[in-house]
């Protein structure tokens, strides 16, 4: 087999420069302002949390994979776990001069894709939802919209001019939350 046939990719999905659309991969996050649109696709049991400050038109989005950052070994990005991701988004927004009291949150994802008979405890998707809501409550950020649970994947787009979030699933209409 030649080297040409085998592809070794190392870098995760990064926002493409020069475009208003910022693409966020698994375990990644970003803080941005107008005119950007933050998009994240292929959301299964992961959750996407968006924070938006409407007065300053600043927002942040994190594609969270794990419910909490305790008992984890090895390298992990801050945006991978619910508690650290929300803290990182708040910090990023505050650096851009947004205020915590003006922020509102929306939550998408946390489905369980395979109906499995092996799982008796709540699935990872549900754990992600619970943990994210708990962290938001702790930080006193109101949750004003959500589209969670179910057994299907979702694509999310977050418009920073208005703070609206659209959710698209295969074979379903686009929904706005």
């Amino acid at each position: 087999m030649s080297n040409k046939e085998r592809l070794i990719f190392d870098s995760p999905a990064r926002p493409s420069p020069g475009s208003p659309i910022l693409r966020i991969g698994m375990g990644d996050g970003v803080v941005a302002g107008v005119p950007h649109i933050i998009s994240s696709s292929g959301l299964g049991s992961c959750v996407v949390v968006t924070l938006y400050d409407s007065k300053r038109k600043l927002g942040g989005l994190a594609h969270i994979m794990l419910p909490d950052s305790h008992n984890l070994n090895g390298y992990h990005s801050v945006y991978e776990c619910a508690d650290t991701a929300i803290a990182a988004l708040i910090k990023g927004l505050q650096i851009k001069r947004a205020t915590l009291s003006d922020m509102v949150a929306k939550l998408v994802g946390g489905s369980s894709m395979f109906s499995s008979s092996e799982n008796f405890s709540p699935g990872i998707g549900e754990q992600n939802i619970i943990s994210t809501k708990y962290t938001l409550k702790q930080k006193r950020i109101p949750l004003i919209g959500e589209n969670t649970g179910g057994n299907y994947g979702r694509n999310v787009e977050f418009y920073l001019d208005s703070g609206r979030v659209t959710v698209k699933a295969i074979g379903q209409e686009v929904r706005e939350i």
Binding site: R6, L7, G25, S45, C46, I170
Partner: protein
């Protein structure tokens, strides 16, 4: 982050690719017996992909619709196995299976109970193909690996894979993907066999590849 790179050298990956090629050979035999049709196989391509599927990856976009049969790997190597068929090829695979059942009906007097779209076909094919791939690994590396009963779902590819990646608690940075293209009656069906070994298993796999290489040199 460099865990895997240290444990798996280019030579390891070469050997792994070779094993997957043998697996693909076995897979085409198994599939043509199961579906009762003549099948050709294009030379399989083995990819080592990052755990986060970028837009540039061979599987296309993270939101690509696919049908996927998921199995747990148990035994000396643990992790997950995914047998993936793109949604556009799923129908032709199911059709082939239905044709095979009709042939069987004539021959043995069976009756097919549920005609139409039946995803259990994909589960069964995934079951068999994972079996032959694991046999190929066993033949070279002498590792005993088994897999559990498959569960099937149809949705966006990354949505289907993320649960497996999370359950292995993000230790995985790379996926082993064998891309097989079967040709049946001049129609090509693309399937992917994705092996996601857990972090501990990568070391076991690398060690046994070293051992296997030593024994071939003698």
């Amino acid at each position: 982050m460099n865990n895997k790179e240290q444990l798996m050298s280019v030579e390891h990956i070469d050997f792994l690719a070779e094993m997957m090629n043998v697996g693909a050979g076995n897979a085409v035999t198994a599939l043509s017996q199961l579906l009762d049709v003549e099948m050709d196989l294009k030379i399989p391509v083995v990819h080592i992909l990052p755990a986060v599927l970028g837009e540039s990856s061979i599987l296309g976009q993270p939101s690509l619709p696919v049908t996927c049969a998921r199995m747990n790997m148990v035994g000396e190597v643990t992790g997950y196995l995914h047998f993936i068929v793109q949604s556009k090829d799923t129908a032709s695979l199911i059709q082939l299976a239905e044709l095979a059942t009709q042939k069987g009906e004539k021959r043995h007097g069976w009756s097919s109970s549920n005609p139409g779209e039946d995803f259990s076909v994909i589960a069964e094919i995934g079951n068999i193909i994972s079996g032959v791939y694991l046999t190929a690994i066993h033949d070279f590396c002498k590792l005993n690996i088994y897999h559990t009963v498959p569960t099937v779902a149809t949705d966006m590819i990354q949505a289907l894979l993320d649960e497996s990646l999370i359950n292995l608690s993000r230790q995985v940075r790379h996926l082993i993907v064998a891309e097989n293209e079967f040709i049946v009656k001049e129609k090509s069906i693309k399937t992917f066999m994705m092996i996601i070994p857990s972090a501990e298993s990568i070391k076991i796999l690398a060690d046994s590849i070293d051992k296997a290489k030593m024994s071939y040199r003698k």
